[in-house]
Symmetry: C2
Subunit: 408 residues, 2 copies
Amino acid sequence: MIAYAQALELLLVEAAVLPAEWCRSADACGRTLAEPLRASSTLPPFDNAAMDGYAFATSGEGLAAGSEHRVAGQLAAGAPSPPDAGSGVWEIVTGAALPAGLDCVVPLERVERLDAGRIRLREAAFAGQNIRRAGSDIAIAGEVAAAGQRVDPALRMVLAALGIERISVRRKPRVALLSTGAELVADALLPLGPGQIYASNASYLEASLHALGAEVIANVALGDDAQAFATQTRRLADQADLVLSTGAVSMGSRDFIPAGLQATGARLLFHKAAIRPGKPILAARLQEGALFVGLPGNPIATAVGLRYFVVPLLRAMLGMPAETPLRASLAAPIRVAKGLRHFLKARLRQSSDSGLVAELLEGQQSYRMGSLLQANAWVALPEDADEWPAGALVDALPRDAGGGWFLD
Amino acid sequence: MIAYAQALELLLVEAAVLPAEWCRSADACGRTLAEPLRASSTLPPFDNAAMDGYAFATSGEGLAAGSEHRVAGQLAAGAPSPPDAGSGVWEIVTGAALPAGLDCVVPLERVERLDAGRIRLREAAFAGQNIRRAGSDIAIAGEVAAAGQRVDPALRMVLAALGIERISVRRKPRVALLSTGAELVADALLPLGPGQIYASNASYLEASLHALGAEVIANVALGDDAQAFATQTRRLADQADLVLSTGAVSMGSRDFIPAGLQATGARLLFHKAAIRPGKPILAARLQEGALFVGLPGNPIATAVGLRYFVVPLLRAMLGMPAETPLRASLAAPIRVAKGLRHFLKARLRQSSDSGLVAELLEGQQSYRMGSLLQANAWVALPEDADEWPAGALVDALPRDAGGGWFLD
């Protein structure tokens, strides 16, 4: 049986980066940059006042405390400066452009207003004070964000500030979902018959895939029908980048996917990995081009397959860097089976000394969703040890596919 | 000038929890539960097999290694059991219901198939093994999630598994945005005139508010027009739960909001707080009912006002608990002005000993967005000290309003 790292590698070498497409900056949150983003202009675009106050031309000399000055007029924000604004003293508001020649801004509260449009300085002032220089925030052609970066509200703001109307992003991965299992009832408004359960894996996958920035192009329930599997897989293989199935990949009597894939001419990448839960996971390249990942049907095995195979795959397709796990110390010892990589539902919290502690939750069985609700993390225990003492440092990833941590 | 904690308190006492409404579970990701969610049924709904294999009726006695048995038939998943299935030996698949009387599941790989439908056990088997008991994951009427919890993919999955088609969530907060400043150009396709800049605060607020689960019902540019402010504020005050403005709350010549609000009969909650950046922040209750928060116009002052006033306010409106900051140790000493609460752009990372370290970024000035792009956190330094040594433990919140941490 193949090890986790090897199985993942076999999948990732098949990942092609998706093509780039243009997207309005206003619609780009959650999309991934296809190219490094360089500033097309400077921020600020021009020298401007950092404070409401008075701008002076001091020829680099500054001004003495108590000095008196006649105010020539007012410099408005967002309007051209008067032609004579390069010398003298001007009332100015925060953000208003500072005409060439003015080299010092004195805030309102450091000025005494006299009559006849005159003012007196309460303190000495220095050339260059309270001025924001053009380009001092973002320089022209400077790299604002790297390729593979997710557009978030801060980047959205900078795109707006730079006047960038459209950006080049990766096309959204198109994912098709196939659920197997005759016992599944997809409609919550239908009552359950004997032996039936409500379908839940597809809901989890769909919500998680949206959070990752993927598009779910199909969500089909197949029952235990191997023929429907073959038909749907062929139909979806040239529309989807990735076909994800749940269930029917183990060795039971209704586990028709391994043979069904073979019959369609798919090239198997691996079947079964030395992991727990989710050992029967399968990956293939369909003849029509899409990748195929067969997730086991137990909900936690589905979640693990998503988090530890599909998320890295989709990140690679989007040109995103691999995730870096956090390190946390185990709150309690645990014993596991050597030779398997264990993925465990965990709750990460901060200890009093600011370090991170991982509590492995009760109810690790792969059918138990209640403990997934309590979890905010997955802890991965590598294959080479079976005894993990309290305090051992382990790798953790955020529970959810979007990649953000929710920590107490 | 009022302290941060007092200012926030004056705002939060005005926060009314929004009314509840029904939402389809399928559409509920990102919504907030209005009531504790109790399980309307158990999970699993019935005793079922944890493995593909054979189910036995052992009357609690278990089975000896090497014992031979005749298989009566197959128990399918999702179908009623045969009437005689409570005794004898049955082939069973993972998840199939275990009829009353069968008390032991032996996995396929521990069984040798003989001829004439007979099997032999490779190992002894124990009553109760490989059985998932009804209710062992989620018990009926148990609290699955607390009121105020955000629906995420894991909760979405459990809602599906429980067959819960609709849930009670808080109505989305309705937020109206008013941007002031004659220098702002909102359309990136227009060239900038002298002294003009592209509007960016509204983009930041809109993207952040969406991430928080709020609805942005208006996004209006007012220029420096006090009359338009009064008109729009009156128009929006009975449609919005919160009116958010940017700019025009300081003491300059075009800072018309404080007086403008007074003229509309608004009740001022506070104006100016002892914080940096963002001191001129203002909050009021509009005569028509909505709350009003006037954010200063500098982009980082806007972001701080959002993160440290508006996010807590919206969380309160949604019935969410207050956020718990993480504690991180300062990477380098810093000196600040005593008496102000400082909110600093920071990068949190994990040190080699698993503790969290906060690097305060270069470029803390309130006009600098470039450093916000580098940040993943805000560090809050309280008012009572001006010297912060390296290694001091400080409070940090995730940079973005959605509340998730992106940590290296």
